[in-house]
């Protein structure tokens, strides 16, 4: 469904991605794990069209989207929950969610999706008039996910949703991601928390300084010595 081919991205003198390839099939949760600065965020930003690659291709359902605008990619169902949540801090919870549906014209199904999001995240429903900037970190993460759901994603790109959250909340967020996936949305999950990510993912890739060094099913990766040592704390 999503295919990345030999993607190369540079910033001035730095080469952040040195030709990476990966794929995500329909219905899968695929995780991309790696240490700080490995290039995980750069990968997602390039997939979303915020960064232009030096070389390589991004395909969605076999069609090349590498030259498309960020807007056109959202239309294609490629939707991102960015690193650090990036909710609009001075806008209400409701307005943030409405912005998620920015490209949609079908007012009725938007309204019913809004109900679904509030049903999934009751804490957002209680705070719909509150400014997003005043929400707790966990609530902001829920809002960022809810906002992405309002775009009706085909492929949901998540950048470190567990960042800065307490273990219990991390559990909650990950089980929500599983639920969303079970509902038919394909997921590419970027994480440093390899342990949790490999628990819900079907497959995974390990990124190290701009290169994919390992790939396999979640079970395979979990039992690999290198992964255990570098990412699973044992």
């Amino acid at each position: 469904m999503l295919e990345i081919k030999d993607l190369e991205v540079g910033f001035g003198g730095i080469t952040a991605l040195k030709g990476i390839s990966l794929s995500v099939a329909e219905g899968e949760i695929v995780t991309l794990i790696g240490a700080n600065g490995a290039g995980k965020t750069t990968t997602l930003r390039t997939v979303s069209g915020l960064v232009r690659p030096r070389a390589g291709k991004i395909l969605v359902d076999g069609q090349d989207v590498t030259r498309l605008s960020a807007q056109a990619r959202v239309k294609r169902g490629l939707v991102q929950v960015p690193e650090g949540r990036r909710v609009f801090p001075q806008m209400s919870v409701l307005e943030n969610l409405e912005l998620g549906a920015y490209l949609r014209k079908d007012a009725k199904s938007v309204a019913s999706d809004l109900d679904d999001v509030f049903a999934r995240f009751p804490r957002l429903a209680d705070r719909r008039k509150q400014h997003a900037g005043t929400l707790s970190g966990g609530e902001q993460q829920m809002l960022a996910i809810g906002r992405a759901l309002m775009s009706r994603p085909q492929i949901l790109l998540l950048d470190e949703p567990s960042m800065g959250l307490a273990p219990l909340l991390v559990q909650e967020i990950f089980s929500i991601v599983s639920e969303i996936n079970a509902g038919g949305t394909t997921v590419l999950l970027v994480e440093q928390n390899a342990n949790m990510a490999l628990q819900i993912a079907h497959r995974g890739y390990v990124l190290e300084t701009g290169k994919i060094v390992l790939a396999g099913t979640a079970a395979e990766l979990t039992s690999t010595d290198e992964v255990k040592r570098a990412y699973l704390g044992g």
Partner: protein, 294 residues
């Protein structure tokens, strides 16, 4: 007492003009952190378009106002697309210098076509020349029109920014442009729209001033432009309520100084206010450390 009330009425009229111009400065700053120094000249162009419509085409005030706003809308969008958009990734100083260049270009292009002489809007329709004596305070129809039109436009602006989709996109882009892109918002179109709105308001201000003072010239945008910029900084640049507060405050300060003291000192007072604000509250009266920009 009557003197004070009189000066406040005058200040309200003048402040409306500053507020209308300041809104354009502040919205553009909020969205791309650019001080658009050509903004005062868009206001000047608005005044000339109004002049042309009323004097040469014999159109009414309302038609002329609408046409001036429309022309300025297009002008603002063209300026943004041609002069600023190619510099989106350049340093701020490069864009700032470009803005000054655009300002000079507009001023002297206008001078080339219409000459440097001051022109008058001529005889206005009789209803606009009326005035009313309210308990010793003289209120002219022109003042009522200026205040009324300004308030109407401000209400419309608030509605657009708060309630409409494109207004929400403006606020989203000003708060986090990349996150806005991830929602599928076209940042370029939203920036253009912001220039369009601000320029329309400046165009309206130009016509209102033409009617009020009945004298326009190609450099008329320089000083009001600067003062409106000061008004925006005073209220907190990037903040719509700040521009309104600043506009009315500067307008009132000017009329009070010229009423009680001497019109020679008004500019000194306004620039003095700017210096004080910059020293004591650089983010402006309504600005805080974390601030909403549109």
């Amino acid at each position: 007492m009557e003197q004070l009330a009189q000066q406040l009425v005058n200040g309200l009229a003048l402040g409306s003009i500053y507020a209308l111009i300041a809104l354009g400065y502040t919205m553009v700053y909020g969205i791309i952190q650019l001080i658009n120094f050509a903004h005062g000249d868009v206001y000047m162009v608005g005044a000339y378009v109004g002049y042309f419509c009323m004097v040469h085409l014999n159109l009414g005030f309302v038609e002329s106002l609408v046409i001036a706003m429309a022309v300025c809308t297009v002008l603002g969008v063209v300026i943004e697309r041609v002069a600023y958009k190619p510099l989106r990734k350049s340093t701020r100083i490069a864009v700032l210098i470009t803005a000054i260049g655009v300002s000079l270009l507009l001023e002297y292009t206008m001078m080339f076509f219409v000459g440097a002489d001051t022109r008058t809007y001529g005889v206005l329709p009789p209803f606009m020349e009326q005035s009313f004596n309210v308990g010793g305070v003289l209120i002219t129809m022109k003042q009522i029109i200026i205040i009324g039109v300004s308030v109407l436009l401000m209400v419309v602006l608030q509605y657009i920014v708060r309630r409409t989709k494109v207004g929400k996109a403006m606020r989203a882009v000003s708060q986090d442009a990349d996150a806005a892109r991830l929602m599928g918002i076209s940042v370029d179109n939203t920036i253009s729209f912001t220039f369009a709105l601000g320029s329309a308001l400046a165009g309206a201000a130009g016509v209102l001033v033409g009617v009020y003072y009945n004298a326009i010239n190609p450099l008329m945008g320089v000083l009001p432009g600067l003062k409106a910029f000061i008004a925006a900084v005073f209220g907190g640049i990037g903040l719509i309520p700040g521009a309104l507060l600043g506009g009315y405050f500067i307008g009132a300060a000017e009329t009070l100084v010229s009423g009680y003291w001497s019109s020679l000192y008004t500019d000194a007072v306004v620039f003095g206010i700017l210096i004080l604000v910059l020293i004591f509250k650089p983010t402006g009266l309504l600005g805080s450390n974390v601030r909403e920009k549109v």
